[in-house]
Each structure stands twice: as structure tokens, then as C-alpha cells.
Amino acid sequence: MSRTALLLLADGRFPAGGHAHSGGMEAAVASGAVHDTTSLEAFCRGRLHTAGLTAAGLAAAAATGHDPLALDDAADTRTPVPALRHIGRRLGRQLLRAARATWPCPELDHIAHHRPGGVHQPVVLGVAARAAGLTPLDAAHAAAYDSVGGPATAAVRLLSLDPFDAAAVLGRLADDCDDVAGEAADAAGRVATAGTTVLPAASAPLLDITGEHHAAWTVRLFAS
């Protein structure tokens, strides 16, 4: 495996559309739930252990080579809210474009061909990781980190937070990210024999609800 490929895939500058999304942060800031570094950390920790864990499981399973279309269905099952399904597929399409340019391979073409509307972003992330020669655990790490990196960046923009404080939050979450990735990869290792139902299905109902509301705002900085 190439450690550098993992850095590239997980880099916020990888051109896959993430910069326009706050992962629920914009709604959390608007409601006052996130207003300083402490509340940012609480938000990120919560997102990591719910949406992040679920995404990491899907990504790891996709990186094992499991059928991405079946995993896309599993992602739908784990995403009850239409707005977030829509966003998940849109980000999936955008990541697919970047991944096909970076690590061209038949597996990525297969997704584009069979699901022109896109598959959920974590599934694409896993297939891209595999295409880059990475392991399921690597894919889980990328997904776990992605689940907190985006919201933290968004909080810096939305609240004019000190960027060093936001970086320190991510630094303190590193062990949690590792744990989440490990748990996700373990579950993914059982998918081939036990099916997708063994994948984590942790949800954050408030993120679902605010995600649906946010999609209907007429004035907003972030697409989600």
C-alpha cells in the first residue's frame, strides 16, 4: 500500500466537491449548538461516532472489493433523510470524477456506468482507495477523518474561529478516529460472509433533521 496515496485521498484539497459542504455544521451554528471550540469538539466527536462510523464501514467494505451497488443500497438504508441521500450521491459523483482521473480503473468505470446518478460518497471512497492500492482500514481512516475535517473547516469559516483551535480539535480526535476506523474495518471484514447488515448503522437523528431543514434554506453558505 502507498501511504502517500492515502494522504492524497484524504486531503481536503482533493478536488471532490467537499469544500462546499459543512456536514451539518452550518445548521448547528445557526441554532447556536456550535458556538466555540468546546462545542465544535462535541459536535465533531458526535458526528464521528455516528455518521462517521457508518461512512467508515461502507468505505471499508467497498475497499474489500464487495459489490459497490449492494453497498450503495446499504448506504441508502442507513440514510433515512432524502436531502442527505441526495447530497451523498452528489458528492459520490464528484469524488468519482476525481478518482477516475487520479486512479483510472474498471471498478470506478463500473460504478459510473451502472449508476450514472451516482452512488453514496463513502462507497466511492472505498472503491477509490482500493484502486489506489489502499487497504479497507485505510479507506475507513479516510472516511472517519472526512466526517470531522469538513465540519471543522466550515466552523472556522462560519464562526471566524481561530484555525489553530480547530486544528487542535482534530488533533485531539485522532485516537477516536483510529478507533472508529478499526471498528469499521473489522465489520467490513465480515461482510463477504455475513452480508452488509453487519456494517455499522449508527445514526445522528438531529443531523438528519437539520440536514433536511438546511436543504430548504434560501440563504446559506454551504450546500449541506
Partner: protein, 231 residues
């Protein structure tokens, strides 16, 4: 209100986005409109639509900073049917969406192309940014940078990638020059110095047919784009 060097305009051949559709026909020409907030990008796009829609199949992508304001304006003004106008959200970073991570804009462009084919021309308006914000060549085939005389007549002298490298520079709101004490001759001289042989146009878009020099340039670009198809 003149257009310098209309014929010597250099043609770019470095299209990183495939200029052909899968069936081999040439896709729509994609023109980016960049420049600071308030300089007249939306006004230019609206005027171009009104001028060209009778003979060309057009679509517009807007990149608003925090609303769908530009798209809403264009729809309200009915410069094109609503299905021909798409708004892209830029997450507080308009230059990222047109340069560093163009994936959302490419999606919008390709979807318009697919749903409205055949399209001749897609105009992509940036969210408005600083003087360094230019469009990626992976997103647009050619780009226009719009500044205005009311933001200071020293802007052409300051330069920056938009002013020096855009395929067309538009210096707009010449009608306001007397009110803001802008010296158009100095602006023209600075512009010529910054741009060497690249074309520019001084416009007043609130004047009847004020868009003419830009519309002529666009038409010329489209002709060149189509003739490249034969090669």
C-alpha cells in the same frame, strides 16, 4: 466603448475538457465570467442572453456566494427559460469552485448539456472574488474578466491574473466615470500595457446595446470554436 484588437485575439488550444461529445460532435463553448462583486458580471450575462438567444441555444451557470441571488435575478428577468439556468453552491469559497475544485461546476455544465442538447454556448458566472480569481481551463474554454470604473481607476494598473490573462477584459460602467472621477484614458493606457495584445472592451451595460462589443467577441469565439471542430 471600443473593442481593441478584435482579430488578433489568440486562440487557445489547450482544452483539458474534451471538446467533443461522445458521438464526435462538438460540445457547447463554455465561457467564464469572473471579476469582483458588483462589477457587472450578471448584467453582462443577462445582456448576452437577450442579444444572442434569438439565434443561439444558450444556458447559464451561476456561482453565488451565499444565495441563489444571481440565478434568481436571471430567472426573474426571464433572460432564458428557467431550466436553462443552474446555480452552483460554493461553500463560502467562490474561487475554489471555479479553479481548485471544479467538480460541482462540471456537473452543472454537463447536466445542462445533456438535457438541453444541442447547446451552442454555456455562460458560467463566478461568485465574484478578488483580482486573482480566474477559471480553470478544465472548466471553461475561454474567459472574460469584468471590472468597473467605479471601483477605482487604478485597478488596471494593479493588474493581477484576471486583468492580465483573461481572454477578454471588460471595463464596465463607463457612464459612471464623470461621477467617480475616473480617468478613462489612463485606464485604457494601463489596460493596454497590462494586456499587451489581448483584447479589452470599455462598456456601459446600462446603455442601449452596451453589450455589443462583448457580444461580437463571443460570436467570434464561437465561430473559431466551431471551425476548430473540423480539425
Amino acid at each position: 466603448m471600443h473593442l481593441d484588437h478584435p482579430v488578433t485575439m489568440p486562440h487557445r488550444h489547450t482544452h483539458s475538457a474534451d471538446p467533443r461529445r461522445p458521438d464526435g460532435s462538438r460540445r457547447a463553448l463554455r465561457i467564464g465570467f469572473g471579476g469582483p462583486v458588483g462589477s457587472g458580471k450578471t448584467a453582462a450575462v443577462a445582456a448576452l442572453c437577450r442579444t444572442l438567444r434569438g439565434r443561439l441555444s444558450l444556458a447559464v451557470v451561476t456561482n453565488d456566494i451565499y444565495t441563489q441571488e444571481d440565478a434568481a435575478f436571471l430567472r426573474r428577468e426571464a433572460v432564458l427559460p428557467p431550466e436553462r439556468i443552474t446555480a452552483v453552491e460554493t461553500g463560502a469559497c467562490p474561487h475554489t469552485a471555479i479553479r481548485d475544485d471544479i467538480s460541482a461546476n462540471l456537473e452543472a455544465v454537463e447536466q445542462l448539456e445533456q438535457e438541453l442538447r444541442p447547446l451552442d454556448l454555456i455562460l458560467i458566472e463566478s461568485g465574484g472574488d478578488n483580482l486573482t480569481a480566474t477559471f480553470s481551463r478544465g472548466l471553461v474554454d475561454t474567459q472574460v474578466f469584468v471590472i468597473d470604473v467605479a471601483s477605482g481607476d487604478d485597478i488596471p494598473r494593479k493588474g493581477g491574473p484576471g486583468i492580465t490573462t483573461a481572454d477578454l477584459l471588460v471595463v464596465n460602467k463607463t457612464d459612471l466615470a464623470p461621477y467617480v472621477g475616473a480617468d478613462l484614458d489612463t485606464m485604457a493606457a494601463d489596460t493596454r500595457r497590462q494586456r499587451k495584445d489581448l483584447p479589452f472592451a470599455f462598456t456601459s451595460l446600462t446603455t442601449d446595446d452596451g453589450i455589443r462589443p462583448v457580444a461580437d467577441w463571443v460570436t467570434e469565439r464561437l465561430t473559431a470554436w466551431r471551425s476548430e471542430a473540423g480539425r
